[in-house]
Structures are given as C-alpha cells and as structure tokens.
Symmetry: C2
DNA sequence: CGGCCCTTTGACGGACGTCAAATAGCGTGG
DNA sequence: CCACGCTATTTGACGTCCGTCAAAGGGCCG
C-alpha cells in the first residue's frame, strides 16, 4: 500500500484512489505540499462548527469523532462516527457544507489541507475523481440506510446494527482483534445516532449484555454471540 | 433558459448546468443523440427495480414518482418524491446504485439515456461536473435532514415539513398556483416518507384540516394558514 | 475529597402502532 | 348508468414501545 509521507492515515481512505493512479500511470501526485497543519483536539471538543465555512479539508489521523446535525431547538442526530482515515465529510471536499458539527469523542489528531489545492488535484486526476464519487455514493447510501433504520426498525434492531456497523468499520481499519474493539461511545451518543434516548439505550444494552450477546467494559466492546446479534439486527 | 430539443423537462434540473457552460464558453453540448427512448408508465408501476443494474439514466418528464428503499421483511422508507425534471437518482448518474426502487405515483412519462454517453459528457465539461457535485450535496443533505426529522421530530412536525417541502419543490417547478398544488400522494406514501403508519397520518392530517391549516380535495392541496403550518414544522 | 457526568433502574405517561369496522372513492365491467 | 369490488380514508378502542422523570450509585478528574 502506498504511504503518504505527511500522514499515514491519509492512505486508509482517499489515498487508495491515488495509488490506483500510480499503478495505472506510473506517476503519483505529491500530497506533501498540500499539508497545512496538524492538530490535536481533546475529547468532547468541536472539530468543526456548524456555521464554519472553512477553506480547509480535515482528515482524522487517530481517535474517534462524531458528525451530526441538529434542529433549531437542539435535538441532535449523529450521522456517522469517524475513525482514522476518514475525511471530515467527503461531501465537503469540493465545497464546504455548513450546518454540520463534528465533535471529538476521544482525543483526536487530525490534519488540515487547503481545499483549493485539493480541488486542483481532483480535477487533474479523473481516477481520483471517480473514486471520490464512489465514496460519495457510499456516504449517501449510509445516510439513506440510517433514515430507513430510524423510521422502520425497532430500538433493539437499531442498536444491534450500530454495533455491527462499527465493528465492521473497525475491522476494515485493523482496529479490531478477535471480536473485541475499542468502544469509546457514551450512551448519549449511541442514542443520538439511533434516534433514541440515553435511558432507553441503557436498557437495550443491558438486555444485550444479560443475554450474553456482547460485553462492554473499559471502553471496549466484545461481541460474544455474533450470530444472534446479527439475527436481531437483520444484518445481511 | 436553454431548452433541450428532445425533452423540455431535461432543462429543469441538470441542464441548467449545461446552460452555464454555454454562457461561459459560447458552446453547448448536443444532448439529442444521447436519447435512447421515451416511456409512459402507468400509476403504481415500478420505474426501476431494486436489483436492476441498469445501464441507463432516467429522467422524469411528467408526473410524480417515489424513490424508496426497504428492509428485507418489506418495511419501506421513501427517500424522496420525484417531479418533472428530476433524475431518477443523480447519485447513479455515474454508476448505478442498486437496492433502490422507484415507483410511479401518477402516470409518469420519462426518458432514458445511455449512462456511458453521459459519463463522457460529464468529464468533458468540468462545469457540469461541478454542478453535479452540488446536486449530490443537496441530495445528501436532504437524506440527512430526513434522518434527523424521523429520529427527532414529532409526527405533526414531520407531516407539516413534508407538505411544506413538497410545496416548495412544486413552486420551483412552476407547478403551484396561489397556495394550491397538485397532491397525488396516498396516505400510505406519506406514512412511508415520514416513518409513520397510514392510520396515524390520517389522524394528523385530520387535525390539520380541522384546524384550518390545509385543505385537501381532488388530489390537490391548499395551504390555508401557512404561518401556523410553518410554526408547527419549525420551518426555517 | 468533592463535583460532575455517566449509567442503571423503576414507575409512570404519552405518542404512536395495531386491529377492526364503517364509509367513501374509483375504476371496471355489465 | 348502475353494480361490483377493490383500495383508500376515517374513526374508535386498545396495546406497546419508547420517552420522561426521578433517584441512586459509579467513574473520572480536578
């Protein structure tokens, strides 16, 4: 796999498109000059504000974050959890998308790139652009599946699916050993991601643990009975 | 406004990007050879099936349609209603997105274009591509707002917002006179779009009509008290 | 040690779902 | 034009899932 000098996490996601370019044409865009700055953000701090119309593109290098939108009176919906290698919204690669807030769950390290430089490279390498379109479609499909889940699935289904989805995502990034993964989410955040309340999430997770489906301790989660969890989640 | 010989509806949405191209460069891509076929589809018929991996791109020329996804056991979520000028998913302009079904609500006329030809033109005119990215972002934002609405808003809010959203969309396409618009939706479809049941939708709409907020008759809807409806909807 | 947030648990309530029956619309065919 | 059958809508009674409120730990950090 291709590594980017400035930021290894960079490769996990977007850069794989770039590596395709290189393989195809024996050339490789140089990302390094794009880098503007690296940051460390403590847990619970905002990474980007809803009204911010930033000229930068941010990528997560370590830690977890949550991307969310909210109603005027403060009710919140988390749209996705971000892990190392995720762009803080691929959608705003080309133009910034206001209205969304991104909050660090654990301490997060991230890097910022200048949007304009990004755009230039995007348009220069059509393969990158196409890969980007793929990513867009995935994100969109995920938002739509979220709407389906919240609108039509029970609380148990939703929580089970969230856990399986995060497990799958962790696995892809090599952040999972055996059936155990880091799991820094507060129940409040699970609630905001599933359209439930924290109290109800606590009850559902309580049932899951009593039924020996999962075990949670020390900010880490083990899937004990994956078969049954999948059945509850109607997973594939 | 630029008109496309083959299909006037074409201009309503995507073609405005093309007209920008022309203004900018004094040139205009010729869409006509792209056209493959025109169709008329009766109400309640599927326009595209969930498993269909079509090589065509479809655009609605008249009538209403609903784009939806479903769980394995048949629970359904309508993601958006399509009106004349809408692409049957802009997301699948470049690559087909399976898993989605699109169903005619009224009789629909539509036209199909060959996807590959489309791609070629897209990449040839970067301005079109950028406009397309905008459309993607809008669609995505709408999917996200839908998740927020279903997860965090009450039934009354959701239904009121759906009505206002459709009114706004109708207005943009000149399909609305005074405060009255065509409204061919069955309550079952409203339910599937808002994550409710048809029975409950009936009750909510009953309240709205009794409170003189709206009037529905003959498949058309009049907004009587827009101020109050907006208040209920928490609209802007 | 003290304060704060998180989690858990229980009691209770409400919003919405389910079921059922009556009515209204609407297209079809005689 | 009416009869028929289907589907949509309306309404009421009732049930349940999930929210709200409250109180009691538990964990974490200053």
């Amino acid at each position: 796999m291709l590594t980017c000098a400035a930021c290894p996490a960079f490769d996990l996601n977007l850069c794989s498109a770039v590596s395709k370019v290189r393989e195809a044409k024996g050339q490789r865009p140089d990302w390094s000059p794009l880098l503007v700055s690296a940051h460390t953000i403590p847990a619970r701090r905002m990474i980007s504000h809803p009204k911010e119309w930033s000229e930068f593109v941010t990528i997560i290098c370590s830690g977890w974050a949550a991307s969310s939108i909210a109603t005027e009176d403060g009710r919140r919906q988390i749209l996705s959890f971000l892990m190392p290698g995720d762009l803080v919204s691929a959608a705003c690669l080309l133009e910034p998308v206001p209205g969304r807030s991104v909050e660090a769950i654990t301490p997060v390290t991230c890097r910022r790139y200048r949007r304009d430089d990004f755009r230039a490279i995007m348009f220069k390498y059509p393969v990158v652009l196409e890969r980007l379109a793929e990513t867009w479609n995935e994100e969109r499909a995920q938002a739509e599946q979220l709407a389906l889940a919240i609108g039509r699935r029970s609380a148990h289904e939703r929580v089970a699916r969230l856990i399986l989805g995060l497990a799958e995502k962790s696995e892809k990034r090599g952040l999972r050993r055996e059936s155990t993964m880091e799991f820094p989410l507060r129940q409040r955040q699970i609630a905001d991601a599933t359209g439930l309340t924290a109290v109800h999430v606590s009850k559902v997770i309580g049932v899951f643990q009593r039924d020996q489906l999962i075990k949670i301790s020390n900010r880490s989660l083990t899937i004990v009975n994956e078969t049954e969890l999948r059945r509850i989640a109607e997973w594939h």
